[in-house]
């Protein structure tokens, strides 16, 4: 074998090794969760990396808990509300920030970005007061409000960027056709922003779906809890037992819908993230 071919083969080998490492790094924890969830609790501490004889008792047990199903419902409501609210607000904001020239546009954008830099813990106590004041404690609205606050900067920035990339003449053509700003936004610009909306909407959904700290702080009763908190609070038969099988089954149940969503919208996301880079 000539040195050249050898070098080529080695490079190829290295490439696939790297991909393998990346794959294991990203997927192994989730894979191990699935393996664990499919074991009866008696077999829990026998280390094995393959699913020999799947046992669905953990899933049955989780799905039999009414509070868990309730939590999934709550999470769904909260996440969907956050996505709707955040997309509506950020779309209108992006139209103003990306399209209308006004004094102080830069500072506003910087402020929006600055707000998103505070860690959650820093605003937790203040936000708690606000929610108590508004009488939203232990309701889904408390979560919708707080998640929207943390999602908006991101969605506003992304949509403003996309909005800014749409050609100006398109909007002017709509003005010449007699369209009001609202019509221009909804009938001309919105259809062109779909990929961006799907991308940002999905990311906002994932953020709201997985959020833990606010959900733990702002809700009290089982009936208002969302999924991450519900999973954390799953307890075993005695205070000394952690029901790993149940936890893992619940985690898998909660994660799989997200994975499916991402796979469905995968092409949209990619085209959304790269839209504007190429002339359409």
């Amino acid at each position: 074998m000539s040195p050249r071919l050898l070098k080529k083969a080695l490079l190829r080998l290295g490439f696939w090794c790297l991909i393998g490492i990346l794959l294991v790094y990203a997927v192994f924890p989730f894979y191990y969760a699935i393996v664990t969830s499919l074991k009866p609790s008696s077999a829990l501490f026998q280390v094995s990396y393959w699913i020999d004889n799947p046992d669905f008792s953990n899933y049955a047990a989780v799905l039999n808990q009414a509070s868990f199903l309730r939590a999934i419902g709550n999470s769904l409501v909260v996440a969907l509300c956050v996505v709707t609210l955040a997309l509506f607000l950020s779309l209108t904001a992006a139209y103003a920030l990306g399209r209308v020239k006004f004094r102080g546009r830069g500072p506003v954008l910087m402020m929006v970005l600055g707000v998103s830099m505070f860690p959650q813990v820093a605003v937790l106590s203040g936000l708690f007061e606000v929610i108590r004041f508004l009488g939203l404690y232990n309701t889904s609205w408390a979560l919708i409000l707080s998640y929207t606050i943390f999602t908006l900067p991101f969605t506003v920035w992304v949509l403003t960027t996309f909005m800014g990339q749409l050609p100006h003449e398109l909007e002017e053509a709509a003005i010449m056709d007699g369209a009001s700003p609202w019509i221009t936004l909804t009938r001309v610009l919105l259809p062109l922003l779909w990929p961006a909306l799907v991308t940002t909407g999905l990311l906002a959904f994932i953020a709201a779906w997985n959020e833990f700290l606010f959900a733990l702080t702002f809700t009290l009763t089982d009936s208002q809890r969302t999924v991450p908190v519900a999973i954390a609070l799953i307890s075993g038969g005695s205070p000394h037992e952690l029901p790993w099988g149940l936890l893992m089954a619940a985690s898998v149940l909660v994660t799989v819908p997200l994975v499916i969503l991402v796979l469905i919208f995968q092409r949209r996301i990619v085209s959304g993230l790269t839209a504007g880079a190429l002339k359409g």
Binding site: P167, E169, L170, E172, A173, A174, I175, M176, D177, G178, A179, I183, R187, V188, P191, L192, G280
Partner: protein, 379 residues
């Protein structure tokens, strides 16, 4: 009838004055072309008329009504954009009907008008297509259809052909001319392409640095430019300019220049002092060449063969060579020594500010009348 009137219109953007005291009258049914170098304010002027930009000073009147503060749709204007700006997600039909729908046009008459517009522009078979499935020329026609559908009295075109390739450009140019004949609506057209301006316009408006340099028919502007700028801007290859001094002012001027020596010209310079600087302008087609004797005359520095004619470049010792338009079989070669023969009647004289001096021969004839046959006098 005056359709549109600009009265001392000004536009400032930041600190820069884009337009200065622009006054212009446009008659109903006229085809007016704004030309000028980039940054001269021609597109801004069009956008002011459309209502996309606001007017800082002065009045804009359409049909005698002041429209400064009216929305674009209330002005009765339609606009064709340089990049077409078609709505990419809508079919051709929806693109054309969008404005009509917003104006709450009744369904059957909307359909009728869209179909009629499509027919005029030969888009009948493409109505269900999306813009991305159309060729450049077809997109251009859809853009015109969208501007026409609401039957505006005034159609505005912002460099509509600059995205097309050369052959398509000629074809669309003819289509626009035909369209104007057919619709009879007032059209205002912005371009930097002088061929488009010359062929399409009833009236050309030459803009320079936010000011109107000259307004007139293509022929008037070509034959009687009021300034050196207009003279140099229209015509390809451009007019030759020769630096000169006014030797004796008067009804007939005696002018001295390096290339031509002392010449007496039928040009009125009685307002100027002796020894002022002038520039003489002569178009390439008004020059002819004769073989020179010995070491006199100018040297041919380049010969451009164009098939139907030849451009002969002459070295004058100045930065720019003089260009002469010759017959193809005149047979000049690089290095030949030639003597210039000028068509004196078609010589333009500009003062130091670039203003044209009045010529006895051509400028006293009514507009559009051809000057008498070229009487070339050897110099």
């Amino acid at each position: 009838m005056i359709k549109l009137k600009l009265d001392n219109v000004n536009k400032q953007l930041g600190g820069a004055r884009i337009l200065r005291d622009v006054s212009l009258e446009i008659s109903a049914g006229e085809f007016v072309v704004f030309v000028g170098p980039s940054g001269c304010g021609k597109s801004t002027l069009l956008r002011l008329i459309a209502g996309l930009d606001s007017i800082c000073g002065g009045d804009l009147l359409i049909d005698g009504r002041r429209v400064n503060d009216l929305e674009p749709r209330e002005r009765g204007v339609g606009m064709v954009f340089q990049s077409y700006a078609l709505y990419p997600h809508m079919s051709v039909y929806d693109n054309i009907s969008f404005g009509l729908k917003l104006a709450k046009t009744e369904k059957t008459s909307l359909r009728e008008r869209v179909l009629k517009t499509a027919q005029i522009l030969q888009l009948d078979k493409l109505l269900q297509r999306k813009p991305r499935e159309l060729s450049g020329g077809q997109r251009q026609r859809v853009a015109m259809g969208r501007a026409m559908a609401r039957e505006p009295d005034i159609l505005l075109f912002d460099e509509p052909l600059s995205n097309l390739d050369a052959s398509l450009r000629v074809q669309m140019r003819n289509e626009i001319a035909r369209l104007h004949g057919r619709l009879g609506s007032t059209m205002i057209y912005v371009t930097h392409d002088q061929v488009e301006a010359m062929t399409l316009a009833d009236k050309i408006v030459v803009l320079n640095g936010g000011r109107i340099e000259q307004v007139g028919s293509p022929r008037e502007l070509y034959e009687r430019p009021a300034s050196r700028f207009v003279a140099g801007f229209l015509g390809s290859p451009r007019m030759n300019f020769i630096a000169a001094f006014l030797h004796t002012p008067g009804e007939t001027s005696h002018v001295e220049s390096l290339v031509l020596g002392m010449t007496s010209l039928p040009v009125d310079s009685s307002g100027l002092a002796a020894n002022t600087q002038l520039s003489l302008g002569i178009r390439p087609e008004h020059l002819s060449l004769k073989a020179a004797q010995g070491t006199t005359g100018l040297v041919v520095s380049a010969v451009e063969y164009l098939g139907s004619e030849t451009y002969v470049h002459l070295d004058t010792g100045q930065d720019e060579p003089m260009v002469c338009r010759c017959e193809v079989n005149a047979g000049w070669r690089v290095g030949d020594r030639v003597e210039l023969q000028l068509d004196i009647d078609n010589l333009h004289v500009f003062d130091a500010h670039g203003t044209a001096l009045k010529r006895h021969t051509i400028d006293s004839l009514p507009a559009g009348v051809a000057p008498r046959p070229a009487s070339a006098g050897a110099l």
